[in-house]
Symmetry: C2
Subunit: 185 residues, 2 copies
């Protein structure tokens, strides 16, 4: 078979044009130098990093939020999640978002790793956590935030991730990783 190999894949920025600065994300377009010396453009969405939390209670049930996702014109069932605030560590952001959306304050919060949702053009990295030993308090939704909290047995959630009923990346990755870690014991 004929397959090329490149020694250096780096693309170098030549110039930048700022296109949009919104409330949620920004857009810029860079002119870049490709590995073969030619030039091209790279369209980039600037989005801050975020967190998501798999909060598991004593009966192995997971706290989920059902939210209307305007881009897809439907409600989706997802792990509690949100954007990191400036200066916040991922663990701090995870605890804050979990408390705001569900009222839960966990005694134990440990990382399930991070991932990049769409590495081609979207700059977000998401940090995943598992929460245990949950204390239930009051929810504090942001203004303009509407969601319903639902409890689902972990095994049921796992099957919904495997069979395609759950389509949200952060929920699928956190649940499948947690399943593996639980099986290891």
């Amino acid at each position: 078979m004929a397959v090329k190999q490149f020694d250096d894949l780096t693309e170098r920025r030549l110039s930048r044009e700022d296109i949009f600065k919104g409330r949620v994300f920004g857009v810029h377009v860079d002119k870049v130098r490709l590995p073969d010396g030619r030039s091209s453009t790279r369209e980039v969405i600037d989005h801050c990093d975020g967190v998501a939390v798999l909060a598991l209670d004593q009966e192995n049930r997971v706290y989920l939020v059902r939210q209307y996702r305007y881009v897809f014109s439907r409600v989706m069932l997802e792990l509690p999640a949100g954007k990191l605030e400036p200066g916040e560590t991922p663990a701090e952001g995870a605890a804050r978002e979990l408390k705001e959306e569900t009222g839960i304050e966990p005694e134990v919060l440990f990382p399930l790793g991070r991932f990049i949702p769409s590495c081609g053009c979207f700059s977000e990295t998401l940090h995943l956590f598992m929460a245990r030993d949950l204390k239930l308090g009051d929810q504090h939704l942001d203004a303009g935030e509407f969601l319903n909290v639902e409890l689902l047995p972990f095994d049921e959630l796992y099957h919904r991730c495997m069979d395609g009923e759950i389509e949200d990346s952060k929920t699928i990755i956190a649940v499948l990783k947690a399943k593996e870690l639980m099986q290891r014991g």
Copy 2:
């Protein structure tokens, strides 16, 4: 605990402003009516759907591509993937992208489900496939496409997904789902 419940979470479009139409994505901002009757804005990135393929050879090795991801200023190791072309089914797009990027033509291609990378503002859905019974042919990279093909044992790839070395969502989801399906036999 005090947790609100909403009967109808639907957000309704009031008006639209087109912001940007790029080569890779577009951006629009909609004014919407929230469930409580107030109005807000929704920033949306329009991106076509895509495909990714976990191609496994006779020795249980996976074909990966190492690409420079400009948004993250580094190379990343990922499954072969790409955007669907107009009129193409996900399976057709998966076969085409696999052939273009690695030269592989599979005898067997079956779905591993689909997922939404970032449901809050990014309209892309990604369709995952597993390929078996691989024939090796010639690669046909797009103009301006630079990548290196690498073979990695499936178990090594699985561990890199679990330990956080692989951060790409499509690669993690396809590998963890495939691992579960292989364990079921």
